[in-house]
């Protein structure tokens, strides 16, 4: 059966579909609000029906009756399979290494996948004070792998973050290992393409460019000299079914998927 690719889709919808493809069935996912949540639900309704969704608030295997608007939304508690308190969630689930995949975003992301969500500028005298780590640093260290999702902008994709909130591969290939950290980011899904990390150098490279976006555009919107995979290719577009699911079932109110 040939896939019927959608012709009409938005960049956001594409990001959701691309992120969903990163998930494998039966994985346990630490979900964030927004695109990660849509991607996880989409995966669950297509190729990965046995995904387990866990929210930072401790709700386990939630089946929300409506689109949750925060990770502590009451619809994540009503009708969920279990609820752990905060220390249990971070100890018994995350530190115990039950979480296969965590999603992270950030105000700055550098070429080693380090994320800044703390300050722009100096820590003591910040230009902009951001919300801080939350569970980001914990997830970056303790999930088996991390998927980063962010708009592709030059000011966001910087050579070196002002502040490492959530460690990626830090500043050299063995840095994580030296600190006793396993895992690390496996993919960066942006509005322009998908980036991955070189096994040897742990530097980010371009693996896929979205339809309608040129490699040159991506390089222009990245704050360092981005390496391109020799096998770089165009991102597979969403299928009609995937777009229909997103529009009609998963976010019919358009909370996250503006059109």
């Amino acid at each position: 059966m040939k896939k019927k690719y959608a012709k009409d889709y938005t960049l956001q919808e594409l990001m959701v579909v691309v992120a969903a493809r990163e998930l494998r069935d039966r994985e346990i996912v630490f979900v964030g609000i927004g695109i990660p949540q849509l991607a996880t639900i989409l995966a669950q309704r297509t190729h990965a029906p046995n995904l387990v969704l866990i929210y930072e608030s401790g709700t386990i295997a939630a089946k929300p009756m409506r689109m949750p608007l925060s990770i502590g939304d009451p619809t994540l508690a009503s009708g969920t399979a279990g609820i752990y308190n905060f220390i249990e969630t971070f100890s018994y689930l995350l530190q115990r290494k039950f979480i296969d995949v965590g999603f992270l975003g950030g105000a700055q992301i550098d070429k080693y996948g380090n994320i800044n969500s703390t300050v722009i500028g100096d820590y003591e005298q910040p230009k902009v004070r951001l919300p801080g780590s939350g569970g980001g640093c914990d997830i970056a260290a303790l999930a088996k792998r991390v998927i980063i999702i962010a708009p592709h902008e030059k000011r966001r994709f910087v050579e070196k973050v002002d502040f490492v909130t959530s460690p990626g591969y830090l500043d050299h290939p063995e840095a994580r290992e030296k600190l006793g950290l396993t895992g690390g980011p496996s993919a960066v899904v942006t509005t322009m393409g998908v980036l991955r990390f070189d096994d040897a150098t742990k530097e980010m490279y371009l693996d896929l460019y979205h339809p309608g976006v040129s490699i040159e555009q991506i390089k222009e919107n990245t704050g360092w000299d981005l390496k391109i995979s020799p096998s770089v290719k165009e991102t597979e577009p969403p299928t009609e079914d995937q777009v229909t699911l997103l529009r009609e079932k998963i976010d019919p109110e358009g909370y996250y998927l503006k059109r």
Binding site: I33, S70, I71, A77, F86, G132, A141, L142
Partner: protein, 308 residues
């Protein structure tokens, strides 16, 4: 030999148990943020508070704007689902209305600090995620050690024992046994870690209702100093089963408080302008109340058995 009643109006409880300079821990994680109690602290002009809460939310933002706070301890200072906290930012970035010091951690470290405090140990070790973060450079109280069992690097997280825990929950009996369902966050741990505990609840219920379901008790009455009935005491956050989160309020707050003047106006309207939570709810109005009320979705009763 009757104990002094633990049932105390919010005004009196705040007056009696919250002192200027206290290290105050606020409960709630999106769910059950104790706005009624926090607003009363603002009205009583509590000063120099050191405030700890994983997610300070609008409540701590307002307390900062009102000049109650000199120090915050947190892990994520944002407006959940909306964006940034403007009063917090102004205080940190520009010292407006007054400078505050702050001390930030990760969620896990905050949870671990409370857990250690609740457990009566000086620290607990956790896996060393934060050692890869720049955070640790600014937190001298996070130590590292090589594990004597595995020689893996561990991060040591010191206990925190606040002067007082301030919590909102669904219900309590008059002995102060506190019951909650839905998302707990660190409520149990901050209560057990703190020296004093005050709790507002949606309903004070008969002892029998509590005792027919002891597994729902998160804080035992013997450690609760004051409890009071404050329906809608968590608005604009929510109380599971009682009302919904007022997401619109969070969005409007974001718009309204981008300037010092806007923030002042907000406080005048929603905090100083009402005498207590009852007046606040009146101000909220019937339409909003109807909008936020939720249809019932009940658990089934479970049988504990009569072992008499």
């Amino acid at each position: 030999m009757e104990l002094e009643s633990k049932l105390l109006p919010t005004k009196e409880a705040v007056k009696k148990f919250v002192n200027d300079g206290d290290l105050v821990s606020f409960g709630g994680f999106t769910h059950g943020i104790p706005f009624a109690l926090g607003h009363e602290m603002i009205r009583q002009k509590k000063r120099n508070l050191r405030v700890c809460k994983e997610t300070p939310d609008l409540l701590v933002d307002q307390m900062i704007a009102a000049g109650c706070v000199k120090h915050t301890i947190f892990s994520w200072a944002g407006n959940p689902g909306v964006g940034l906290l403007h009063a917090f930012r102004r205080a940190v970035e520009k010292g407006v209305p007054q400078p505050i010091t702050h001390e930030e951690y990760t969620h896990f470290i905050m949870a671990a600090r409370y857990f250690a405090g609740a457990s009566g140990v000086p620290f607990i070790p956790i896996s060393a995620g934060v050692v890869g973060s720049d955070l640790i450079k600014h937190r001298k109280n996070l130590k590292t050690m090589n594990c004597p069992y595995t020689s893996k690097k561990l991060c040591l997280v010191p206990a925190i024992n606040p002067d007082i825990a301030v919590i909102h929950a669904q219900r309590a009996d008059k002995e102060g046994n506190i019951q909650m369902w839905g998302i707990f966050g660190s409520n149990k741990e901050i209560a057990m870690a703190s020296e004093k505990v005050i709790v507002s609840v949606e309903e004070i219920v008969d002892e029998e209702i509590v005792r027919r379901d002891p597994n729902r008790t998160i804080i035992p009455g013997f450690h609760v100093d004051a409890v009071m009935e404050e329906p809608w005491g968590a608005h604009p956050s929510y109380t599971q089963g009682y009302y919904d989160r007022d997401n619109g309020f969070y969005i409007e707050y974001d718009q309204a408080t981008r300037t010092v003047e806007g923030m002042e106006a907000f406080l005048n309207e929603w905090v100083y302008g009402v005498e207590n939570r009852r007046e606040y709810v009146k101000k909220l109005g019937a339409e909003k109340i109807l909008k936020l009320m939720v249809k019932p979705y009940y658990s089934f009763p479970v049988n504990y058995g009569y072992y008499g």
